[in-house]
């Protein structure tokens, strides 16, 4: 077993373990913190895949923005959360069973696929060059349309989120 494999197994165990803790933690705040650990593990997985840019962006976007927003939402909706009693629906075991079967099925499908044993070719220097990615994103024959659409999506999100979350004047008066 090579050093890379050992690191992968450790990181994977941390990612999955904290993921399980994140969906099972009784206190929502703890769930959010476990989520942060899990996301950090995923960032390490990205680094193992030699996508260092996305490893860093993962930390920046997911931990720096999304996880902190989730913590914020937990704090804002805290008064209703006594964090007492069960936090899951009564038939959780049914979901767990179904998903376990699904997981086994996916694993079987993965392992039966012939290309699964493929060994990664050494990455060419152009593949890790961010300038190539950037040019591909604004290339009219490449991904220009999705790129521009995603910027429109972000703008729509900004407007929509503010409009949805802002306290209406009439509501304050009531």
């Amino acid at each position: 077993m090579s050093a890379g494999q050992v690191i992968f197994l450790l990181v994977g165990a941390v990612t999955l373990g904290s993921g399980i803790a994140a969906v099972n933690a009784r206190k929502m705040l703890h769930a959010a913190l476990w989520l942060v650990l899990s996301l950090l593990g995923v960032a390490f997985i990205f680094a193992l895949l030699e996508a260092s840019f996305f490893a860093v962006v993962q930390v920046l976007v997911y931990i720096g923005a999304i996880a902190i927003l989730i913590i914020f939402a937990v704090m804002l909706s805290r008064s209703s959360l006594t964090d007492e009693g069960t936090q899951t629906n009564p038939r959780w075991w049914l979901a767990a069973l179904g998903l376990l079967i699904l997981f086994v099925g996916i694993c079987a499908a993965i392992l039966l696929w012939p290309k699964v044993t493929s060994i990664p070719a050494p990455l060419p220097a152009s593949a890790t060059d961010l300038a190539t990615l950037g040019k591909e994103l604004v290339n009219p024959n490449g991904y220009l349309v999705p790129f521009e659409l995603s910027s429109i999506l972000l703008l729509a999100t900004l407007v929509g989120a503010i409009y949805t979350a802002v306290e209406k004047k009439e509501e304050i008066k009531k």
């Binding site: 260092s52 840019f53 860093v56 931990i63 720096g64 902190i68 704090m75």
Partner: protein
Amino acid sequence: MAVIWQNILTFLQGVLRFIGDPITILNQWLTGVLSGWGANATLIQVILAILGGASLVLGGLFFTVFLIWLERKVGGRFQDRLGPNRVGPWGLFQPLADMVKIFTKEYITPTGADKIPYNLAPVLSVGAVLAVIAVIPFASTIFGVNINVGVVYLMAVGAIGELGIIMAGLGSNNKYALIAGFRAVANLISYEVPMVLVLLIPVMFSGSLGMNDIARSQNVWYIFLAPLSAAIFFIASIAENSRAPFDLIEADSELVAGFNVEYSGLKFGMFYVADFLHSATAALIFATLFLGGWRGPGAESIPILGFIYLSVKATVVYFLILHIRFTVPRFRIDQMMNFNWKFLTPLALVVLAATAVVDKAIPSNLTALRIGVNWIVNIAIWVAADRLVRVVAPKRVVPEVARPRPLARPPLANPPQAAAEHEPGGEA
């Protein structure tokens, strides 16, 4: 006799070479020693990387001791007092005495605290700041790593620091700490937006995300090419550090001490260290991105000169941060949010777009023209923004500043003036 002189001369030359470029020579020497002991190449690399990391971190931590002294001394002068002056010459050893005091204090964990976040928070905040040092190029050969995503890494690591503050606020089971946690989220997430936007400008000029490449490409300091974005970056980095005038996270007069109110002993000390180190790294980052980093005459061939240049530049920026801290009053939280979302962020967007157009329009070898046009564009944007702010949000004149309302005074049974008025009548 001549041989002895020759030996002395070569020795002196060696010393000079060592002073000029200590890291490379130390590296070569250690590699030689370790391979003499029979270690293989990978192991040597790992050992040297660990040694380098440890020396960077320890250097950062020891440097903090000096920073604390500097800040207290400068702060003292700003407030017309002497500052620490008892322990050692000019009070230089005061932080050491404070350290001893802090080490011997008792750790108190408040009742109902969330143990794991509460104890993890100081570690995270110090660790995040120390991790920043890894990508700062101190000289052409003295840097931790030159990863190709250095600038994004800076922002990502800052996010982990935020997490430390939030965990401290939430884990302490204290309402002041919780409010500080709320404010930390609002403050840090908001000011990240203009900061990232103007960070793109050095990246655009240099064509690289690596910190050392950005420093190396600055034939002209980027502050001359993009003065307005440098100013925005400076303001945003002060806000990210939650230094005064943006120190709403630990506003003493509102929140007792903010997010670290429940911490004692070394755990408090770690927040303290993180705070000071954070402003020092902010100064270093600003100097690297906008003031040419280690660039200067002779810095390419004699790396230690680059270190000196960077230190001088960073010290100037750090002094500016201190100057602002000790002379500007604190913002209100709504003012701070408005300032960011309604002024800084749109301004940063406009500056980014304008700079991109100018940068593309003028070839990079016409340096003087580039500087001139960039200055004209920047000044035009600033004037326009200033006029717009005055038109859209004119200064509201408050007709009545304050009415005397003696709230704290109990109602007097016999008001003095009334008594004085009534006295004649009483006599009559």
